[in-house]
Symmetry: C2
Subunit: 164 residues, 2 copies
DNA sequence: GAAAGATTGTTGTTGACGACAACAATTGTA
DNA sequence: TACAATTGTTGTCGTCAACAACAATCTTTC
């Protein structure tokens, strides 16, 4: 995909330079097709919407889910460690944890090793809730498979493994 | 990747339940690895940051670039048509076009066919600017190739072609 | 042809999210 | 002991998606 300039291929025009269209779906994307970022963005929007819808009953968004799984798999982690691992800013994580703590899914306890930091743990309620979330997330993942194909999804994960 | 519940595999714990870590990079993601959405989100963040950096000198963000290319390839389009094609809300497109019009890259002209709508065109300045943007975008695309591999990028585009 | 409904662009609000800056408490270091 | 760095927190700013409401303008229906 060389980005040669101005490869515009306009359709039939009306006298005033406007394009006549009966079907709005026949609008060309031109150089946009061939840009990985565009395809990835559209796919990411779709996949997040499906995740949010699938986990809608339990009211868990992707970022919340990522925090819960990491804390669940690594109990005692500090906020700084979680933020760094997930690529979340620590200021943002504060609000996320406020919400999760209000819902009794996570608890902050003062670390005795470093009294600046908080050790993060799932509550008992958080553990059982996370188990349910994981089942729903697996259902969402099956939606992805249904959309792009089982082997394509596997290949995608392999290609993007370096970004996790 | 079956999402059986609570496959937590915590590391060595201290007495208070906190996890000792010297290296912060050895934090497990547990169920997050294997979720397409997580990998895609991280990749999308990376790719957008590179796009923004690569086109930083000309101050063009991915969404602005997508609008310019679509208008450039389909002159005379209405705002509604552009919004629908790109998956942008028409309310959002208003501000995007305000900015692009202030920079003299795009102009809105009243459509004579439908006086509710605006026909969108690139200005002469917009045409030449877009050509430059496309060169920079191609450079960004080469960064993607360097990061994930040429054939992986091609495969990615094929897998996600249905979302463009 | 007139009334009712739908569409287009616009303005505004809300909430999730990333980027930054400042601050107190605490730790590490010179 | 003084100085620098880290951690959690609060706050601001800008981007972005999702809605809702509105006037102007089509489109449909009677």
């Amino acid at each position: 995909m060389t980005a040669s300039a101005a490869q515009t291929s306009p359709r039939k025009r009306a006298g005033n330079g406007a394009v006549r269209r009966n079907d709005a779906d026949e609008i060309g994307l031109d150089a946009l097709v061939g840009h990985a970022g565009y395809a990835v963005r559209r796919f990411q929007i779709w996949i997040f919407q499906d995740f949010i819808r699938t986990l809608g009953d339990v009211d868990i968004r992707p970022t919340q889910y990522s925090v819960l799984t990491v804390v669940g798999a690594n109990p005692g982690l500090s906020q700084m460690a979680v933020a760094k691992r997930l690529g979340i800013e620590r200021a943002r994580l504060v609000h996320l944890l406020d919400s999760l703590e209000q819902r009794k899914l996570v608890k902050r306890t003062k670390s005795k090793e470093d009294r600046r930091s908080h050790a993060l743990h799932l509550t008992a309620q958080g553990e059982t809730a996370l188990a349910k979330f994981k089942h729903l997330a697996a259902e969402h993942e099956r939606h992805v498979e249904a959309r792009i194909g089982k082997e394509n999804r596997a290949h995608l994960l392999r290609i993007l493994a370096g970004f996790t």
